[in-house]
Point group: C2
DNA sequence: CGGAATCCCCGTAGATACTG
DNA sequence: CAGTATCTACGGGGATTCCG
C-alpha cells in the first residue's frame, strides 16, 4: 500500500518549494505565465520590487531552468519567458492559489 | 498607490508557500500525514533537526492551524496531528513531490 | 534600458546548556 | 519526555549608487 520513500536529503517537495519561494517569484511566474515579459514590464507590474531584487530573482529562476532570458541589441531590451519546466509548474501554482483563497476565507 | 494589481498584497500563492516553507515543515507534515506523531517520534524520524527548531516549526504550524497539539499528563507526552486544513494541503504536497521528482530526474 | 556593486537590516535556524 | 534560554552565523532582500 505504501511504497513510500522517506523524505531524503534531496526531498523533492523541498526542492520544489525552494524553487518558487523567493519573495517575488510567484508574481514573476504568474506574469510570465500570461506572456513573455520585458524586464521593465515586470518592474512596472510589480511596483514594489527594486531593480536589484528583480534581477536577482530572475537570475535564480533562470539558473533553475524555470525561465529563459533573451537579450536583444538592436532595440536594447531583454525578454523573459517560461521554459517547459516553468510552464509545467503553473498548475501547481494554481492549486496553491485556490488552496490559499479557501484558507484566507476561512480565517 | 491604489493600483489594484492581479496578484494582491495578500497573494494566496505566497500565503500557501509561506505556510510550508520552513526548512523542515514538509517533512513534519509528511509524517503527520501518515499518522499522529509524538514529539520524540518526529525527532527520531528527522534526526538532523534539533529540539529547539522542531519546537519552533511545530509552534508555527500550530499557530497557522495546520496541525494540532495535544498534551497528556498521565503518561507524560505530547501528540501532534494534522488539522482539517493541514490534511487538505497534502494533495498539493504530493503534486509538488511528483513535480520535484521529474525535475530532479531531468537534471 | 537593464543591470552590477555596496552596505545594511532582520529573520531563520544551528549549537549548546538548562528544566518542569 | 518535551520543551526553554542564549548566543551566534548565514542569507535573503531593501536602499542607494554607479555603469555599458
Amino acid at each position: 500500500m505504501k511504497t513510500e520513500t522517506k523524505p531524503q536529503e534531496t526531498c523533492p517537495v523541498k526542492i520544489t518549494i525552494d524553487l518558487i519561494s523567493g519573495k517575488w517569484k510567484p508574481n514573476i511566474l504568474y506574469y510570465l505565465g500570461e506572456d513573455t515579459q520585458r524586464f521593465g514590464q515586470l518592474q512596472r507590474k510589480i511596483p514594489s520590487i527594486s531593480r536589484r531584487v528583480l534581477t536577482l530573482q530572475l537570475k535564480e529562476l533562470e539558473r533553475d531552468y524555470l525561465i529563459q532570458r533573451k537579450a536583444y541589441l538592436s532595440p536594447l531590451k531583454v525578454e523573459y519567458s517560461l521554459t517547459q519546466e516553468g510552464r509545467s509548474l503553473i498548475p501547481i501554482l494554481i492549486s496553491m492559489k485556490q488552496w490559499g483563497e479557501v484558507y484566507l476565507a476561512s480565517r
